[in-house]
């Protein structure tokens, strides 16, 4: 879009007028983009946007109906043409470790792919050492692939895809379901291979916050491109500012703001509003006016994130109301709801062993009624086991706890009546209709007929399901399915709601809508919500968080507190804009800056002394003839917090192990 016109020799991929149909369903409807040599190009979009179809076609493993796909100047119109380019590309299909062999060890998997690609022995050893080094997998060379965690599998998958040094790597949702630390490692390899070997990469992702990692990107929605270009170009499509502040009562503030703004989100105690005004003062003035007399404290304005822009574009495209209905969602059943005093969940020194392995080690926390509580941690940190103990699926080995006022060990029956649970898979019966699913759970919870009718009506209204009541659940879009699953979990008006990775595969608007529902449940009805998530951008919605590592809680606090704590320890985040980021990164790292990482064309660096370091950075880079075009401080994200905490712990445990 805004890129320089390049000669076709630099064009690695050209897709034009691409159409892919599966029977009647049109997965991709007219797609155009080109990928230049040496860039990391992103396809961003929710599940079902058509990303996989395009990537498979480019990798030469899927035919297409209309348009053309050229790779390295070869038109892929036949099996034979596809075979010609296959040796020059590496393809990582979607799904954790799907291209690997579970019965082979890490090293055997790598060697197998290297032999398949005829990599010379000397090259193989060098590359293997380097790749295992960056991914920190070298300690696990002899471990069988099936014993690796999800993140490790995915890193191994990437190594096997890159071992023959392809000119083009095609990676289909490589970071979905991968914990944040592994995601960082993943991006580190890609950035290095791009900078050092000049590799081109085409990567799809459902995580909006990964957009900044790309040089250029296309945002797909329903098989079409919604926006494309450099991240900055996309950002400039919808000008505006994001205003973050606190106001009470929060729900009333949200209601007032919504009359004026289309994007209002509550993130824990603060509110996040996207304003069309580009001037900070005008934006704040607009907010104050909309709030009427309500207070606005801790005000700050920021450049909008890509997600805000994309949501604005999606809203424009749909041109409709996507917010939850304004009618107050009082269930009318509050009186029926079993009331209890004290905290919603109280865990004391919970322990769970599986054989000799301690999955959960003396976990204690308390969750207030009406609180949104986040449980974060990498795969295998013990989050799911904690939820399983609290919901009564798994008995604890030791410790005690009370859930919704009932004792975990003696009153699991009472607990089950008072809690709601929604799992990653949304746990719905896909061949039943929406209303049949709701009715099933109403019966399971023993609701009387009249009561069930009322609740069903409430769920349909709350979750915006009215157009779908008699549709089979399997045919619903993910966002609607997710709200239905939430509805089913709420059918008996539980006091405590457990959500295990509830937002995977849902588009940004669907996610926002879901969070709006959750915050209303918590604020209006006093339901306590415990949630685990891999999307750390979502953890911002929580009132309080705990971070788990190796079965233990290692950090606890509000998102703000956690960030402030890490900022005190490691410093502030600076974002550098330079013309040659790859080379500049090496210089910055060599100068001893911690946490230096490449984000597309920008460099992130941690600094304890922002103003002093800014000058130092400019100086260091000026010495080698590089110009810094911009330095700006950025808020640490929860992902930064997570990664910094977990990395520190990993290093500590390795040292401990070595001792």
């Amino acid at each position: 879009m805004m890129s320089q016109p390049a000669s076709s020799a630099d064009e690695v991929v050209r897709v034009s007028g691409f159409v892919k149909r599966y029977k009647q369903h049109c997965a991709v409807n007219g797609l155009d983009f080109t990928v230049q040599r040496g860039e990391i190009y992103g396809l961003i979009g929710p599940d079902g946007a058509g990303k996989s179809s395009v990537l498979k076609a480019i990798a030469g493993v899927l035919g297409y109906e209309e348009g053309s796909v050229d790779v390295f100047g070869t038109l892929l119109d036949s099996e034979r043409a596809a075979e010609q380019v296959k040796r020059r590309i590496g393809f990582l299909p979607q799904g954790l470790g799907l291209n690997l062999y579970p019965e082979l060890s890490v090293e055997e998997n790598i060697d197998f792919f290297a032999k398949l690609r005829l990599v010379p022995e000397a090259d193989l050893q060098a590359r293997k050492a380097r790749l295992l080094g960056i991914t920190r997998l070298d300690r696990f060379r002899t471990r069988l692939m099936k014993q690796l965690s999800g993140g490790m599998k995915q890193k191994l998958g990437l190594i096997c895809t890159l071992i023959h040094e392809p000119e083009l790597a095609i990676l289909d949702e490589p970071t979905t379901g991968v914990d944040p630390v592994s995601r960082r490692d993943f991006w580190a390899i890609l950035a290095e291979w791009q900078a050092v070997k000049g590799m081109t990469a085409l990567v799809s992702t459902a995580y909006m916050d990964e957009a900044v990692r790309f040089h250029r990107l296309s945002f797909l929605s329903h098989g079409r491109v919604l926006a494309s270009g450099r991240p900055a170009d996309v950002q400039s499509l919808v000008p505006g500012l994001v205003v973050t502040f606190e106001s009470t009562p929060q729900l009333e503030a949200v209601a007032r703001l919504k009359r004026r703004y289309t994007q209002v989100e509550s993130l824990g105690p603060s509110l996040h509003v996207f304003t069309p005004e580009q001037d900070a003062e005008a934006a704040v003035a607009g907010i104050r006016q909309a709030l009427d007399n309500l207070p606005a404290t801790h005000l700050r304005t920021d450049e909008p994130e890509l997600e805000d822009v994309v949501v604005a574009l999606l809203l424009k495209e749909q041109d409709g109301q996507t917010t939850v209905s304004e009618r107050s969602g009082q269930s009318g059943l509050s009186a029926n709801r079993p009331q209890f005093d004290g905290p919603a969940v109280e865990a004391k020194e919970l322990i769970r062993d599986f054989g000799s392995f301690r999955a959960v080690d003396r976990v204690s926390f308390e969750m207030k009624q009406g609180e949104i509580f986040g449980l974060l941690g990498a795969n295998g940190a013990g989050k799911t086991t904690v939820i399983k103990m609290l919901t009564g699926i798994v008995p604890p080995t030791g410790g005690a706890g009370r859930v919704a006022g009932a004792d975990m060990r003696t009153a699991s029956g009472a607990i089950k009546e008072r809690i709601g649970y929604m799992s990653q898979a949304f746990s719905l019966y896909l061949d039943l209709t929406v209303i049949e699913n709701i009715r099933l759970f109403a019966d399971i919870y023993g609701l009387a007929r009249r009561q069930a009718q009322q609740r069903m009506a409430w769920i349909v209204e709350m979750a915006g399901l009215s157009g779908y009541v008699n549709d089979r659940t399997g045919r619903l879009p993910m966002g609607v399915r997710q709200r239905l699953a939430l509805g089913c979990a709420l059918v008996h008006s539980p006091r405590v709601l457990f959500l295990d990775e509830p937002t995977s595969g849902v588009d940004p608007i669907g996610r926002r809508r879901f969070w709006e529902l959750l915050s209303r449940l918590a604020r209006e009805e006093g339901v306590a919500i415990l949630i685990t998530t891999h999307y750390l951008s979502e953890a911002e919605h929580c009132d309080r968080l705990v971070l788990m590592y190796a079965g233990r809680i290692v950090a606890e606090g509000t998102p703000g507190e956690l960030k402030a704590e890490v900022e005190r320890e490691v410093g502030q985040l600076l974002e550098l804009t330079v013309d040659t980021p790859g080379a500049a990164l090496a210089q910055v790292a060599a100068a001893g800056f911690t946490g230096a990482a490449l984000f597309g064309t920008k460099i992130h660096v941690l600094s304890r002394d922002p103003s002093g370091d800014e000058a130092r950075l400019r100086e260091i880079l000026a010495q080698v003839g590089m110009t810094v075009t911009g330095v700006r401080p950025r808020m640490l994200s929860l992902e930064d917090v997570f990664v910094s905490r977990v990395m520190a712990l990993e290093q500590a445990s390795q040292k401990g192990g070595a001792r």
Partner: protein
């Protein structure tokens, strides 16, 4: 909460879960079609098509005598059991045709056969039988022996001047009366056997698949955190599938067995269906245990075959139970099908009631209870 309300809620949950299972099956069109086919067309085909009786065994005659007696003997080999496919003059030709599988029986009549019979000498005929298919070969040999023996006796009597009604020499003649299947219609046995096979197969597979599907989809966790017991989760599946299998059995019985093959129902049909339900419940226990061990539908199907295969082969519908080695018989006391066979033939063909069948019924109850109990025990443990 009062006890009455508690029971009502318990029932409400069980009904809701059972209804859900029926909806799943109703919407699984391919499975539904397969079920209907298995209990209609497939029963029809197996009843009409499968027979163990000797039919059209190809017979070659090597007649070196070419006499009235030799021709008489050859013509006693009649359809439907035998089909004369030709005469040969060279014995090696006969061996060749046996080797190539074009003849099943070669009848070799020596020279001077007629002469010997007439003069009251002893004579022999030779019979070569291909017993690659052992039951067929054995019955071909048996028939031949009978035909030859009768021919010999008649010849002997004739040579003694006795024939027809005048034959008053002491002879033992066996008069046999056929019970329970008076016309000796083999289609009865075959079609009933096949029905039993289908009932057993679906009784293992349907509930097992339903349970594993919930594990695969993750819906079972949703059920575990709700106030339903493992018993309700498992029993609702067996209940729904038993209902479906009983309906399908009725379809086979009143749509195929009765109108087409005229299989009678001598005993009480209600008793038959009741005991069929018991068999389905017991057999489903195997499926449920398998489902708690399996991770996905492919695995459970494999495990089910592992159980169902030997059960179908060795319980006594494919071959007689009594003729099996002792140790096989011992293992097969664990097969519900073994008891169900006795029950089915007993009720349908012999008109037996519970007074005669209490032993197999008791054995099935014991077996079913144990299986279901261990399934429930495994069910809880598999998530821990």
């Amino acid at each position: 909460m009062t006890v009455g309300r508690g029971v009502a809620t318990w029932g409400q949950r069980l009904v809701a879960l059972t209804w859900k299972e029926l909806l799943h099956l109703w919407r699984d069109v391919p499975l539904l079609l397969f079920l209907i086919y298995s209990f209609s067309l497939s029963v029809l085909v197996s009843g009409a098509g499968i027979t163990m009786q000797l039919t059209n065994a190809e017979l070659l005659a090597h007649d070196e005598d070419q006499s009235p007696s030799s021709r008489e003997l050859i013509h006693r080999f009649q359809p439907p059991y035998f089909a004369l496919v030709g005469a040969i003059s060279d014995p090696r030709e006969g061996l060749r045709q046996l080797d190539e599988g074009r003849a099943m029986v070669v009848l070799d009549i020596p020279p001077r056969f007629h002469e010997a019979l007439m003069s009251g000498e002893r004579t022999t005929i030779q019979l070569l039988v291909d017993t690659t298919n052992a039951p067929q070969g054995l019955s071909a040999a048996a028939y031949t022996v009978r035909i030859a023996a009768l021919f010999g006796t008649e010849a002997a009597l004739a040579s003694a001047g006795l024939s027809g009604a005048k034959a008053s020499r002491p002879l033992v003649s066996s008069a046999h009366r056929v019970w329970f299947n008076p016309t000796q219609d083999e289609r009865w046995f075959q079609s009933i056997s096949h029905l039993l096979r289908m009932i057993t197969l679906f009784a293992v597979l349907l509930p097992a698949a339903a349970l594993v599907r919930e594990k695969e989809r993750g819906t079972v966790e949703q059920l575990l955190v709700s106030p339903v017991s493992p018993f309700q989760i498992m029993f609702s599946k067996v209940l729904a599938m038993s209902g479906v299998i009983l309906l399908a059995t009725a379809l086979a019985l009143y749509g195929v067995l009765h109108p087409v093959f005229h299989v009678p129902m001598k005993g009480s049909a209600a008793l038959f269906f009741l005991l069929t339900a018991l068999h389905v419940f017991t057999t489903a226990g195997f499926g449920l245990v398998a489902a708690t061990l399996a991770k996905n539908q492919a695995q459970v199907a494999m495990m089910a075959l592992f159980v169902v295969g030997p059960m179908l082969l060795l319980s006594g519908i494919t071959s007689p139970f009594e003729s099996m080695p002792q140790w096989v018989q011992a293992i097969m006391t664990l097969s519900p099908l073994r008891y169900y066979i006795d029950i089915t033939y007993g009720v349908m063909l012999k008109g037996a009631g519970l007074d005669l069948l209490w032993k197999p019924v008791g054995a099935m109850l014991l077996l079913g209870g144990t299986l279901f109990g261990s399934g429930m025990w495994r069910f809880r443990r598999q998530f821990q």
